[in-house]
Symmetry: C2
């Protein structure tokens, strides 16, 4: 059994937020999110599962909420569950035709991320957001599409209100 | 999206507990456990997942703790996660060679049920036990082996103490 822990700081999230200049002016060591994953079998194992917990700090880069990288699965037909544990957030989803949608996350919320759907979470609250996750051990991660083209929608703070806007 | 709910009463659990006579003398309508499952795709879908919550009432049949039916998966290499939400219990596991073992469940506990492993949960507390579950949508359920031969170990209350005993 393997426990993986990963922390992402402002310095590690270049070109992810709309306002890259604002990001560069922030404390590069500031934590944005942390993931802990329970990996009981080897990555790629058919029929196995992985389990994770993610904590996203409250904050914004410019006027965009702190969020996770987001990804498609390498085996694109693999689904995933997220469920809200603490705090409030928004799950941003995008299909392969780049159609975007969002779901509100709160303690007790349950989210099915279907096949062929990229997923990312933003913290819209003033406290840490945490959520659980379960996904197949053969799903893998495909970060390329998101790295190259981002999500089709961004979650922006407009006069204090979370607003889902089309990517510019 | 389909939400499934299932309740098991004493009357529906014939021949599952060691003391069948004690079971027959109990109120047959008494609830033993309830399962709620979130089934966003069709059973059998490759790459999809299902999500469940189970509540087991406190109690015993004779001196054996209230517990779930338990099963192998039909696609026997499919794993599953359980995690404790409320109360205390014991996850009883058995491999295909009928080797048995157990894990203690409590709020925050995480349990990986590997491939080829039957699983059942007993409530050992005075309050309701609840736990979450996530499993592949193509796993299926195989109740036959358990129905015919039971688990190799039973959880018995001996002088108030949960004791794992070999099946007699």
């Amino acid at each position: 059994m393997h426990l993986m822990e990963s922390t992402k700081t402002i310095g590690q999230l270049a070109n992810m937020f709309a306002d890259e200049e604002a990001r560069q002016q922030m404390d590069q060591t500031q934590q944005v999110y942390r993931v802990q994953a329970h990996l009981p079998v080897a990555e790629g194992t058919t029929g196995g599962l992985f389990f994770g917990t993610t904590w996203i700090q409250p904050g914004t880069v410019g006027n965009e909420y702190f969020m996770t990288h987001g990804h498609f699965h390498q085996m694109a037909d693999r689904a995933e569950y997220y469920w809200g544990l603490k705090g409030t957030g928004v799950l941003i989803l995008m299909d392969e035709q780049r159609n975007g949608r969002a779901e509100y996350m709160y303690p007790g919320s349950l989210h099915y991320i279907p096949a062929y759907t990229a997923h990312r979470v933003a913290n819209i609250g003033d406290d840490v957001l945490s959520f659980g996750a379960c996904w197949p051990s053969d799903a893998g991660h495909d970060y390329e599409e998101i790295k190259d083209h981002g999500f089709s929608k961004r979650l922006i703070k407009r006069e204090g209100v979370p607003t889902l806007e089309n990517l510019k």
